[in-house]
Amino acid sequence: MKWLKVCRKDEIPERGGRAVLAGGSRIAVFRLSDGRVVAVEDRCPHKEGPLSDGLLTGATVICPMHHWKIDLESGNALPPDCGCVKTYETKVDDGIVWLRL
């Protein structure tokens, strides 16, 4: 596992997400309303919708395809749906977003 540099924090839209390609995986990084940056696999467990295009509310993203709600801290889909995505460790250092892969 290594820390990789992603982008400046302000390159992610406020209360929004951005897709990141790293090696073979596609990762969604989000900038939450409380300022935190979190990252999960950019594939909804339902039908692989791009979560990075979803609507953010608190630490939950709502998939743009069929409105599944994914908790970004645990990676779990919220009931009544069932499923999960991989979560990634992130940190912000001096305005720069890092991802641990």
């Binding site: 290594k2 820390w3 990789l4 390609l21 090696g23 609507l55 509310t57 608190g58 709502i62 409105h67």
Partner: protein, 816 residues
């Protein structure tokens, strides 16, 4: 640490526990809760007792909250301990076994007891009431050793009891004092048909018969009636009605009339620290015995007791359904009518179908349906909404199976549907899945069903069907008026209340509105886009867009597809294009390897399968305006070629269509807006299924509105006829602005017009020139605030600050 307030609940029935559930839902940490229940069983669904008696369910099946649930929610539960005294001076209650509990807030939910006729001999063995699990058990026991049963009372409860006893193999005679069965819910015709149908199922009846006394020694042997005749029987079930349990409250000097009298917050009018809910309550002179109003009361109580605001209970209109298999009966409101009302009726005695709707001042005030009750939910909804039915009198009785409801025809008969029938086509939810969820989790509203199963959670087209399934299981209607429904789970306010507050308090941003209106959390994908629309439509000059509150399509200005790529539809005014445009489109399609090029229903061209990162380049290469094919905004104006080319054309439909589209392009609306213009009454541009459809006639134009060709087909209605194209433009402006201001977010014009009535639209847009002028002026002002074409804006932004491309990181770039 602050000590919690103590809440004591007397009564462990459906209304009381619903109130507790609602309170916990609002704030689980507010109260220390203690519940006293007189019965030994945990809380169960009393509505389903008749199903237990009929052998369709077991006692376990109808338990709502098991003891584990109480433990999990830290509720102290005293089962089998009836409270015998409330000491208001000391704020404590005393149970029969001496248990006491102090309270800060007290809720009385003691329910009701069966009324027992004061007949000689009622104390004999074998006289049973029908109220709780114990009664059910006694009836089931009796059926094992006896054969003949008499049920006194031909109302809802009596008939359900009688049916249960028939199922248990007994010979049952129902004795009713009136001529008509279920006379509280049915008129004479329906009562008569019900009797015939139940007789076919083996029940016997003696109507217009008063019982004089109960015969027998220790045990019941028979009944003697006022006319001297007798009936042999081994058990007597007394089901003549219920009386609120108010003795306890009266003993504590709380004011009671027929029940415990409460105000609109469900507080006793004597003592504000005492609340009451359910069948023991009298509110505005009425007592209720059906579950829907009781749940409504429970919600209001929870809201007030937790200090959440000022919602009030203003009474309920109730509807009833008899839960006897093979007999469909529905009744609501004032089903008899009087001199000032009139009636629409359909009667087919042989076919066993009877429908009657009572109308007063063009509003439905009551209905009785027998044999075919599929329309019950719809009629009850119209009754609650106060829908103007003047235009639909001739089709009112045949609603759901008629033209205009194509999406639902044939499905409406819930009872005929097999368990595997897909109810929600969007989410693949079957009838059985919904029924199981309702029974297992004790669901009572469409919203709860959606939360549990996702049914009706997407296009919403099956919502009415879900309501009907609820009705068929629970026996009375739970449909609540859409007007009174909160916008979403994040607030208690309705669409109209939210709009009013935004206007009154000058709320200019989504976040500001959520803070001012005490939103729960950061909103959801229902309320955030709605708020974003409302603040901008109400304060067009003062606000700016909040992209984080837009769903992906409107944020991207393109339509997301199933594989995450997007589709691009450039604008073609009036469906007209040029060779140059077509060549540009062709070049872009081949250059970017666009996998599919498709003609749309709105007379334009769709480029499908474009990657997000290619969108700006595609837009730039096209050099055309966005067609807004992704937006709740003006979509297209479809036209026929009209008098410019067609030998039948009487008007220049292409010219008018292009002008309309240029005027209204980029105008956001509560939902998508589709227009069309036809040049003659042959109507090739299909104006009759458009939100606004114009049809050229000789010497003028007919303007139609509120049409829809989608989920639920609706034929547009004639708004007015005008002489020239300028007038069409003026009417169109006023109509679109009225819709923008008046409709709920997400509500198409068809639904909106059904809700508010065509008359209201006509008055504001056609009849009153001042109102029309003001609406048109407001739209003009709004249009001035619209910026440039969004694709052009995005092309520039992307050059300055790329945000559409995924960020690529080199997995080898390591920082130690």
């Amino acid at each position: 640490m602050e000590t919690k307030k103590k809440l004591v609940m007397i009564g462990n029935g459906m209304a009381g526990m619903k109130a507790i559930e609602e309170i916990i839902d609002i704030n689980p940490d507010l109260f220390d809760i203690t519940v006293f229940g007189a019965e030994r069983h945990p809380n169960y669904n009393r509505v389903l007792l008749s199903s237990v008696l009929a052998g369709e369910m077991t006692v376990e099946d109808i338990i709502l909250n098991d003891e584990e649930w109480y433990r999990k929610n830290n509720i102290t539960l005293h089962l089998g301990k009836p409270v015998v005294e409330i000491q208001r001076g000391y704020r404590k209650v005393v149970a029969a076994d001496g248990t006491t509990a102090a309270y800060d807030c007290l809720v009385i939910a003691t329910g009701s007891k069966p009324f027992i006729l004061p007949l000689p001999g009622v104390d004999k063995e074998g006289v049973i009431t029908f109220r709780d699990i114990y009664d059910c058990e006694r009836m089931m026991e009796a059926s094992a050793s006896y054969r003949k049963a008499a049920v006194i009372g031909g109302g809802l409860l009596g008939l359900e009891a009688a049916k249960g006893l028939v199922n248990l193999g007994m010979e049952v005679t129902v004795i009713h004092d009136r001529k008509t069965l279920m006379n509280m819910q049915l008129d004479e015709v329906a009562g008569e048909m019900l009797r015939e149908s139940l007789e076919e199922q083996g029940m016997r009846f003696r109507t217009s018969t008063l019982t004089k006394r109960i015969l027998g020694d220790d045990r019941v042997r028979g009944l003697e009636f006022e006319d001297g005749s007798r009936l042999e029987c081994d058990i007597v079930v007394m089901a003549v009605g219920i009386r609120p349990n108010k003795d306890l409250a009266e003993g504590a000097r709380l004011f009671c009339n027929r029940g415990i009298v409460v105000n609109d917050y469900m507080q006793s009018i004597t003592d504000p620290s005492v609340y009451a809910v359910g069948e023991c309550v009298e509110h505005r002179g009425k007592t209720y015995g059906l579950v829907a109003p009781l749940f409504e009361q429970a919600r209001i109580l929870a809201y007030h007791i937790t200090g959440q605001g000022l919602k009030t209970y203003t009474g309920s209109v109730v509807s009833t359904k008899l839960k006897v298999s093979g007999v469909d009966v529905f009744s609501a409101g004032d089903f008899e009518g009087n001199g000032s009302s009139d009636t629409v009726m359909y009667l087919d005695r042989k076919g066993g179908i009877y429908k009657k709707i009572v109308i007063k001042d063009e509003r439905i005030i009551g209905a009785v349906l027998f044999g075919d009750t599929a329309d019950g939910t719809r009629l009850f909804q119209m009754m609650q909404d106060g829908t103007d039915v003047s235009e639909q009198r001739s089709t009112l009785l045949f609603g759901n199976t008629m033209l205009g409801d194509a999406g639902h025809s044939g499905l409406a008969q819930v009872s005929m549907m097999s368990p595997d029938t897909i109810v929600c086509g969007c989410n693949g939810v079957t009838k059985k899945m919904i029924e199981d969820a309702v029974v297992k989790h004790g669901l009572t509203t469409r919203k709860e069903v959606t939360g549990c199963t996702k049914a009706a959670g997407s296009c919403g087209g099956c919502g009415p069907l879900v309501d009907q399934i609820l009705v068929s299981i629970l026996g009375s209607s739970f449909a609540r008026s859409a007007n009174a429904m909160p916008l979403c789970d994040c607030t208690e306010l309705t669409h109209d209340e939210v709009k009013e507050e935004i206007r009154r308090r000058r709320l200019l941003t989504v976040g500001g509105a959520m803070r001012a209106l005490e939103w729960k959390g950061e909103g959801c994908d229902t309320c955030r886009p709605a708020l974003n629309y409302y603040v901008q439509s109400i304060w067009p000059k003062e606000t700016s867009d909040d992209p984080a509150s837009r769903l992906v399509n409107e944020r991207m200005h393109a339509n997301i597809q199933k594989d995450g790529t997007f589709s691009v539809v450039p604008r073609m005014y009036g469906g007209l294009t040029t060779p140059e445009e077509l060549m540009r489109i062709a070049r872009v399609a081949s250059e970017y390897n666009v996998p599919a090029v498709k003609l749309t229903g709105g007379q334009r061209i769709d480029l499908l399968g474009i990657k997000k990162e290619d969108l700006t380049a595609v837009w730039r290469a096209l050099g055309m305006e966005s067609g807004y094919a992704y937006a709740k905004a003006l979509r297209t104006v479809k036209t026929c070629v009209g008098s410019r080319w067609c030998r039948f054309g009487t008007q220049d439909s292409m010219g008018l269509g292009i002008n309309l589209e240029k005027m209204l392009e980029r105008v956001w609306a509560p939902a998508k807006l589709k227009l069309s213009v036809s040049g003659c009454p042959r109507n090739c541009a299909e104006a009759s299924i458009k939100d606004l459809g114009i049809v050229g006639v000789d010497g003028g134009w007919e303007i139609y509105c509120g049409g829809n060709g989608g989920v639920r087909v609706r034929v547009a209605e004639l708004l007015c006829t005008v002489r020239d194209a300028d007038e069409v433009m003026e009417i169109a402006k006023a109509y679109v602005q009225l819709y923008r201001e008046d409709a709920h977010y997400g509500e198409r014009t068809s639904v909106w017009i059904e809700r508010v009535g065509l008359d209201r639209v006509k008055r504001a847009v056609v009849d009153d020139p001042q109102s029309r002028g003001a609406l048109a002026a407001r739209l003009d002002e709004y249009i001035e605030t619209l910026g440039e074409d969004p694709w052009k804006a995005r092309i520039r932004e992307e050059e300055e600050r790329p945000g559409m491309k995924p960020i690529k990181i080199d997995a080898r770039a390591v920082n130690e």
